[in-house]
Amino acid sequence: MTTVYEPLLLVIVLIPVLALIPIVITRRNPNLRESWSLLAAAATIVLVLSLVPRVLESKLLVMPLFECAPGIELAFRVDGLGMLFAIVATVLWFVTTIYSVGYMRSLKEHGQTRYFCFFALAITSTLGVAFSGNLLTLYLFYELLSLSTYPLVTHHQDEEARVAGRKYLIYIVGTSIGLVLPAMMIIYRQTGSLDFTGLGILAGQAPTGMLGVVFLMMVFGFAKSGLMPVHRWLPGAMVAPTPVSALLHAVAVVKVGVFCVIRVVTEVFGVELTAALSFGDVRPVTIVRCVAAFTIVVSSVIALQQDGLKKRLAYSTIGQLSYIILGATLLTPLALTGSVMHIGMHAFGKITLFFCAGAIYVAVGKKNISEMVGIGRRMPLTMICFFVGSLSVIGLPPTGGILSKMYLVRGTLDAGTYAFLLVYLFSSLLNCAYFFPIVYKAFFCTDEERQWDGPVQEPPRWCIVPPVITAVLTVLLFVFPDIFLGLADVYARSVQ
């Protein structure tokens, strides 16, 4: 694998944060203010995409920044995983900005300048995580992301937001300081390095019990991944405005969590060491697999019982995140490819669903599923998008979701762990069970049940265009999955 020096990485990470300046300056003119966000998003998309070909050629793009303390450096580095994640984050940032404009203005939310500022900051942090070349840089941007999303989660500044915000911080900052930081320090003192490598920072170390503990601290410490029992912040954080839930809690924040877990498994511990770790009879990696499988099933069951649409989506997200974690810990190339792809595939599907949930709220002010019977007649386009999104999350054609799920399933076969195969399949069934009734009831219901009637009244244009875009992209990803597939493949090959 060749290494190429690429200063653009720094530029990409800095663009959103630089956009803060014009955003704040033009805060009196909302149209101008939002155009800066859009411009910045467009610029990052173009720049990120321009790097794709080289990453696909198995080149490693690096951009060392500076040494912040002797032996510890801030550095950017992009491989297949980081590139895929960056594409997802920037593309969806653009779409979400459009959506935010529609949503925030329709609902006349307060503090919109603050909202767009912290949004941009969160994207910078997300890109920083995607591009981080070592554990310290990763940790830095991870923390920055937690902090910059706090004002977004608590945007409404009421009692509900306070409770959610508190939960958010306790789970996310608490675990990162309490578990990740000491684990990182132990790794650093043991190896003297924090730089990610395909073999793993700890490759070659003896699989001691202590490293097993460190492994668990790392995996559970990145609580953004929503692994049970550290998932409880996620449903709470749904009090945020819907665009925030959409981007941050279906895409950026939670995916940063699983991204970190993948990095830990493959590039901190390395596939070999992860497999070798054990506490006598029990292997830490088995513990993680079982917890992930448990999370998948239980969260799906909980999702079934939720009446709040966003809550149901949140629990669905928790389950889907554990798909990725389970895939990564299966330690086979196919499963790894699947989980990396799933980051992207799930993101597009899930964000469509969130957009639709928000669009319904903007148009008719309803949040609960029981109040949406027959709504397909009032908002057909929205509900079609919702249908496409749910297809992708369940993993059915013609959407991208099926591809990643196929890889994951094949990965379980490769690893010979048939129990997990059953988990994947059973969970897909549960996914159907909690999504299809919504769509079905929206379109096909008896006249007594019907709560909504024509004429067609879609939400404002700015709210309906984004879900249409993402729904189309979801379908396109089924037809042209090459970029994601290629990147995931490059990554899976680089860490074996």
């Binding site: 500076f66 040494e67 912040c68 303390a69 002797p70 510890i72 801030l74 310290l136 940790y139 830095l140 923390e143 920055l144 902090l147 004002p151 608590t154 500044q157 009421d158 937001a161 306070r162 915000g165 508190r166 911080l169 900052v173 608490g174 300081i177 309490g178 930081l181 000491p182 320090m185 132990i186 650093y188 003192r189």
Partner: protein, 505 residues
């Protein structure tokens, strides 16, 4: 690095003396001039501190370029004369003291104006003398001279604290008692050292003590000196006086005392541990080391828990100081190079963090009249700049990169891991978490909680920021927290690594 550079001539050679002499004489000038022209007192104080700051910067550069600098007071050669010496251990501490005091005096003009309608020159004279004392402690290489300077800074700080509000006089009285015990313990220790070695110069002491490691007198000297410095820095369980004294002082005084006094005491401890007694002696007794480390752990835990109980900002911060003292004592007694690096770095970063937080709280109580938690709601709207600085300071105390608080924690944690001091590591993490709870509770109140006018609905909040003369220094300090963090590499490579004596693991 034993290479030493004694400058023979030129004005540069006078820098070490100038650092201390300028504020010292300026104190008298301020007292005299202020008697007739009260309003010039602040200007003269600023000039004095600025010159001293420049001199300390000069010293730092000379040390970085040429190695330690020795200055003989009045030309008397050590060990007969008093030697001032700037080396890698204290060059940065000097800069920290001068810069903190300069910023703090610039910042607190309006507060002093309000607190002291008349006789402001008294405040500034004491202020300058306190800075002189702290600088002298840092720069002197003579064990007895150190005692005298400790007492100078203590006496002035007693007076400054007693000027405060409410029960300040009583708190100051308690501080006098405990402070005198601390200083006298130190003096007893120095007496024993002198009796055994016949010298007071620190380098000389180091040479002579090397042959006396088995002496019981040296051992008791060490114990007395350590007890003295621990009392002075408020290490648990000797911390009782600290929260009262610091929180009852006027904001103008506590902005100087809180960031510097404990840090300078930690410096004294380090200086005596590393230069006089040398690590091989200090760390030879493993059980004693364990005990001190355990004490530090308890200090961290107790300080953090007590901070949780407080309902006023300043008082909460004073308990955080108690915990931070535990950080530093623990770091030093991990007996590892990273631990010691952590302590030296933390002296700098904690001074900056504490300054930032005390300044922010001073601004809040200046504008809102109190510093209890009930003034918090709506503060982000009202005072965005102040709260931004407060937030940065809070993040630094929690230890979030890239603020300097993260890097001191980095080194201290490294030290803990190297020494296998898991309880100390757990205490550091615990304290970080408690700080997170503390500050996010405040941030949450200030950001989310609605403001209720008496009996009415939530009111519209107007921006009501403090004057620029207060917010600018505050923002500057907040930015410097990040700057120090980002420059950690330079600070450690250029200065701190040479201050670690050889033979520390």
């Amino acid at each position: 690095m034993n290479h030493e550079w004694v400058m023979q001539s030129g004005w540069i050679s006078q820098l070490p003396a100038l650092v201390v002499i300028i504020p010292f004489f300026m104190a008298f000038i301020v007292a005299l001039v202020g008697w007739s022209h009260e309003d010039r007192a602040i200007f003269l104080t600023e000039i004095g501190l600025l010159l001293s700051f420049l001199a300390s910067i000069g010293c730092l550069f000379v040390v970085v370029e040429h190695g330690p600098v020795s200055y003989r007071m009045a030309g008397w050669a050590p060990p007969m004369g008093i030697e001032y010496r700037v080396d890698f251990l204290n060059a940065l501490v000097l800069v920290v003291i001068t810069s903190c005091s300069l910023i703090s005096v610039f910042f607190s003009k309006a507060i002093v104006q309000r607190d002291f309608r008349t006789r402001k020159e008294h405040f500034y004279t004491l202020y300058l003398l306190l800075v002189t004392g702290l600088l002298g402690i840092t720069i002197t290489h003579d064990a007895f001279n150190l005692y005298v300077l400790v007492e100078i800074s203590a006496l002035t700080s007693y007076a400054l604290i007693a000027m405060g509000r409410g029960r300040a006089a009583f708190s100051a009285f308690q501080y006098v008692m405990i402070g005198t015990i601390g200083a006298c313990f130190y003096l007893i220790g120095v007496g024993y050292l002198y009796v055994k070695t016949g010298t007071l110069n620190m380098s000389d002491l180091q040479l002579l003590i090397a042959d006396l490691h088995d002496s019981r007198a040296i051992k008791s000297a060490f114990v007395f000196i350590m007890l003295g410095t621990w009392i002075k820095m408020g290490l648990f369980p000797l911390h009782g006086w600290l929260p009262n004294a610091y929180s009852d002082a006027k904001d103008s005084a506590s902005c100087l005392i809180a960031p510097l006094m404990t840090k300078v005491s930690v410096y004294i401890m380090l200086r005596l541990m590393l230069t006089v007694f040398t690590p091989s002696y200090v760390f030879s007794n493993a059980i004693a080391g364990e005990l001190v480390l355990a004490l530090a752990v308890v200090a961290i835990v107790v300080g953090s828990l007590k901070a949780l109980k407080q309902t006023s900002l300043k008082r909460m911060l004073t308990y955080i100081i108690v915990a931070e003292v535990g950080y530093m004592v623990g770091g030093a007694w991990t007996a590892t190079a990273s631990g010691l690096t952590g302590v030296m770095y933390h002296i700098i970063s904690d001074a900056a963090m504490t300054l930032c937080m005390f300044m922010a709280v001073a601004v809040i109580s200046f504008k809102r009249g109190r510093d209890t938690f009930d003034v918090l709601p709506g503060l982000y709207k009202r005072m965005p700049l102040t709260m931004a600085a407060f937030t940065v300071g809070a993040f630094s105390l929690i230890g979030i990169p890239p603020t300097c608080g993260f890097f001191s924690k980095w080194y201290l944690l490294s030290g803990a891991i190297d020494a296998h001091a898991w309880h100390y590591m757990a205490a550091l993490i615990f304290s970080s978490l408690v700080n997170a709870v503390l500050f996010f509770r405040i941030i949450e109140k200030a950001f989310i909680e609605p403001v209720h006018a008496a009996g009415a609905e939530a009111t519209v909040i107007e921006m009501d920021e403090a004057p620029l003369r207060m917010t600018l220094p505050l923002v500057f300090v907040a930015i410097s927290l990040i700057a120090i963090g980002v420059c950690t590499n330079y600070i450690v490579r250029a200065v701190i690594q040479y201050a670690i004596p050889e033979g520390v693991g």
